[in-house]
């Protein structure tokens, strides 16, 4: 292989591997923090134990995810300097500030308050303790927003000029932070994150209920069922609501991209020639070298609608767009083709897995709605195993019931796959640019890092991440299987302890009850 090419390829693989892996945890961190906060708030407001148990259960799974998200995020911050030093040098003025703000505004908030939340169960008044998890949740959103505004600048560079020293220099921080690309991308990413969190809850709660159903009546754990059922419904509602928002934001983002990166969208559709009206491609097999599709199923006019909100306007094709870019930036039109099969299928997998999750959410909501699920003559206690009812009279037959629970359990994975493909599509669709129209990926890498070092680090990260994935999945499985904890909610509100030798106001500040076991300990 050409050595110069290998250099870029390996650096890109490393970025891809570390980023996709990191982004398995990010959406779950964003959504599970919010959902856990919601459950804890429900517990404080209603005092019902099922909310407390659900908070504890999802909180634990959230923490296992969070740990992985945090540690894999450290690599992300430093690999710009390691593998992409010419990029860092060129864009530091513009790309650095959102990153620094992310650390200062978001990371500190998340990591400080998560410590307070984990260890603060018996140290903080209830409401304050609950506020800590809300702070974490807000922190994850800030964190996501800053990094997405930095990424959006790479997709659509604004608010800068190239200075006399040949480096990009910031003109307008507000445009970098709040341009339409950043706003829409954040909206899309956050809603997709909640889609993932909803599916995570549906999957695990569905599994818990499925397992309870299999047990003989006497062995069933009423404690688990109430909380699992609440979680299932919460997950389903989250799936349905965020599913709609994902579609709206995705449509908006698509329109922005048709305008800003026509090549990305043309290759997402394998639309070789400019067409008016343009059809949406459902399935295509093509030949990149010859520039046409050999097999094609289409929905007429839909692509025009996605791009322009009407069914007849022209959508530029790959060949015309590439010719335009070549005329503007020099070189051959083919230099401007991204990897078309990857973008085409990435786009489809993203939409497909997202839509499927949303539809499962809708179906689940309908199948578990109170009137049917708990139709009066079938209504049993809050803590009994639900049967799936199709009507008031007929239960879903055993085969369908079994499969509906299996599908519920596997819902867990769909949005995660969709997210990964979404990012692969977004980042690869921008090629050959690292900063669209400004800097090519091939010119962004570190000149002094040898291919040997790159291969070594790619191997190290891939192996480490593989090992951690096995451990992480093992732990999640263990805790999911352990089910909703039987733990009783703390009866004593720490706020009620007055000053005195036992309270926080004790004379030596250490309190007289320092030997009391901690509510949570590593």
């Amino acid at each position: 292989m050409n050595l110069a090419l290998a250099h870029e390829t390996i650096a890109r693989w490393q970025f891809g591997v570390t980023t996709v892996y990191h982004f398995l945890f990010v959406p779950l961190t964003i959504s599970l923090s919010g959902l856990t906060a919601g459950l804890q708030t429900a517990w404080i407001r209603t005092g019902r134990e099922k909310y407390f148990r659900a908070t504890k259960f999802w909180g634990k799974l959230f923490l296992i995810n969070l740990a992985m998200g945090v540690v894999t995020g450290i690599v992300q911050e430093f690999q710009f300097g390691m593998n992409w030093s010419r990029y860092s040098r060129f864009v530091g003025d513009v790309f650095g500030p959102p990153l620094a703000m992310e650390a200062l505004v978001a990371f500190f908030l998340e990591s400080t308050f998560i410590g307070l939340w984990i260890f603060g169960w018996d140290r903080l008044p209830r409401r304050l303790h609950c506020a800590c998890i809300w702070a974490v949740s807000v922190g994850t959103l800030f964190s996501g927003y800053f990094i997405l505004s930095a990424n959006s600048w790479m997709q659509h560079p604004v608010g800068y000029h190239v200075g006399a020293n040949g480096r990009a220099q910031l003109n307008d921080i507000w445009r970098v932070l709040f341009q339409n690309t950043a706003l829409v991308q954040a909206f899309h990413t956050f809603t997709a994150a909640y889609l993932s969190g909803g599916a995570f809850m549906v999957g695990i709660a569905g599994y818990l209920i499925m397992r309870q159903r299999r047990r003989p009546e006497a062995d069933r754990q009423p404690v688990q069922l109430g909380a699992a059922r609440t979680s299932l419904r919460l997950g389903l509602v989250t799936l349905a609501v965020s599913g709609i928002l994902v579609a709206i934001s995705g449509d908006t983002l698509g329109k922005v991209m048709f305008e800003q990166q026509p090549m990305k969208m043309a290759s997402a559709e394998a639309l070789w020639e400019t067409e008016a009206p343009a059809p949406f491609s459902v399935f295509a097999i093509g030949d990149v070298n010859k520039g046409h599709n050999t097999v094609e199923w289409q929905i007429p006019g839909l692509l025009s609608f996605l791009a322009h909100n009407n069914f007849h306007d022209a959508v530029p094709g790959i060949k015309d767009t590439a010719a335009k870019e070549a005329a503007r930036y020099g070189g051959q039109p083919k230099d401007y083709y991204p990897m078309i099969p990857t973008t085409y299928w990435g786009f489809r997998w993203m939409i497909g897995f997202g839509m499927f999750s949303f539809l499962l959410g809708l179906a689940g909501l309908w199948l578990t709605r109170r009137r049917f699920w708990l139709a009066p003559e079938h209504r049993r206690g809050d803590d009994q195993v639900p049967e799936l009812m199709l009507t008031r009279k007929t239960a879903l037959n055993a085969f369908l019931t079994r499969w509906s629970w299996r599908i519920a359990a596997s819902t867990l994975f769909f949005p995660l796959v969709g997210n990964s493909w979404g990012w692969i599509f977004t980042e690869m669709g921008r090629q050959p640019w690292v900063v669209f129209g400004v800097m090519r990926t091939a010119r962004a890498e570190s000149p002094n890092v040898t291919v040997g070092n790159q291969v070594f680090s790619l191997t190290v990260f891939t192996l480490l991440y593989a090992v951690l994935a096995v451990i992480e999945i093992g732990l999640l499985k263990k805790y999911a299987q352990a089910g909703i904890p039987e733990e009783e909610p703390p009866t004593r509100d720490p706020r009620l302890r007055g000053p005195g030798p036992d309270g926080p106001g004790g004379p030596d500040g250490s309190g007289g009850d320092s030997d009391r076991p901690m509510a949570f300990a590593y």
């Binding site: 540690v71 450290i74 390691m82 040098r89 890092v449 070092n453």
Partner: protein
């Protein structure tokens, strides 16, 4: 004061904050591997830093992000130049972070012992490698006219850098022992105190040697034009050594609070001294002084620095306030009886 100088100061403060805070949690991580006798004692030690280590680590991320924003050339040259060393540090930080979280998530002796070993080894390696890295930064590395590091991995391994590595390793262990003595109860407290005396003694020798070497090499004749002169770094050196010796004395007197405060002063003064002898360079070139990266040629433009200054001035007090509050909430000492079964 130019904004570039101000940002050099900010980054110095971020690193000082990082080493002050994560310094003791590296130290505690090392002590888990050497001082604790049984499972509960190990858990006591881990729990002294449990609620705060994650917040401490963010100081590093902030230092990294601030360097990217304020000194992109420094960021690019440093992290591509120290590629393999940084790789090892990143791997250690990853493994260390999950070790805290995952150790207690399964019972089973082997599982827990493996994570404790991981915690020990990674804390030790990172504590050592930061010293190596900073010694190389202060000493200067092979940077060519294009602001690119042209040395190899082995250029980073030299006597001065190794001494720097052992200095931070022992200094952080001492700092961690002083912290643990302040935060624990019972027999484990007596044991970490002894560890503090022992590592503190070694640190006194190593740190004096390293800082004096730095002062002779960088502080006196070798001050680059525009530098602050050797006086300031000498003052920091003296403060570091005096604080270290006093910290040891207080550790002997069993005054844990004073001992920890002074070990902290040692960390602050020692890191400050490194930055003082670095200024106005940010990464000196050992090939030709005129190729060195300095606060002026490595920095961002004025607008970026202004934006960042506003953000930093607004956010820093808020962050300091809630981090301080965390330490206040978890101010109690922990003994083995506080560890649930």
């Amino acid at each position: 004061m130019h904004l570039t100088d101000f940002w050099f100061l900010v980054i110095a403060i971020l690193w000082i904050g990082y080493f002050f805070l994560e310094g003791f949690d590296f130290g505690v991580g090392i002590l888990v591997g050497v001082v604790a006798r049984d499972d509960r004692e190990r858990r006591v030690l881990i729990n002294t830093i449990g609620p705060v280590w994650d917040g401490n680590e963010v100081w590093l991320l902030t230092a990294g992000g601030a360097t990217f924003a304020a000194f992109p050339v420094w960021y690019a040259t440093l992290f591509s130049g120290f590629y393999l060393a940084l790789l090892v540090i990143l791997v250690c930080l990853i493994v260390r972070g999950v070790a805290f979280e995952f150790r207690g998530k399964r019972s089973g002796r082997r599982w827990q012992r493996n994570w404790e070993h991981a915690l020990f080894v990674t804390s030790l390696l990172v504590a050592f490698l930061w010293g190596v890295a900073f010694a190389n930064i202060v000493r200067g590395v092979k940077i060519d006219a294009d602001e690119v590091y042209v040395g190899g991995f082995w250029d980073l391994i030299n006597g001065y850098a190794l001494l720097g590595g052992f200095t931070t390793l022992f200094l952080f262990t001492f700092h961690g022992a002083a912290f643990a003595a302040l935060k624990t109860l019972g027999p484990i407290r007596a044991r970490v105190r002894r560890a503090a005396l022992l590592t503190g003694g070694v640190t006194a020798v190593l740190a004096s040697a390293f800082l004096i070497w730095t002062q002779v090499d960088q502080g006196l004749g070798a001050t680059p034009p525009g530098g602050l002169g050797g006086g300031w770094s000498l003052a920091a050196l003296i403060i570091a050594v005096v604080a270290l010796v006093s910290a040891l004395a207080f550790a002997r007197l069993q005054r844990d609070g004073w001992s920890f405060a002074l070990s902290g002063v040692t960390v602050v003064a020692a890191v400050a001294m490194l930055f003082l002898s670095l200024y106005p360079d940010v990464l000196p070139s050992s090939l030709d002084p005129s190729w060195s990266l300095t606060v002026s040629n490595a920095s961002s433009a004025n607008y970026t620095l202004t934006v960042m200054t506003i953000v930093a001035c607004v956010m820093t007090p808020v962050v300091l306030a809630y981090q301080a509050w965390t330490y206040w909430v978890f101010r109690r000492r922990i003994g083995v009886s506080a560890i649930p079964q």
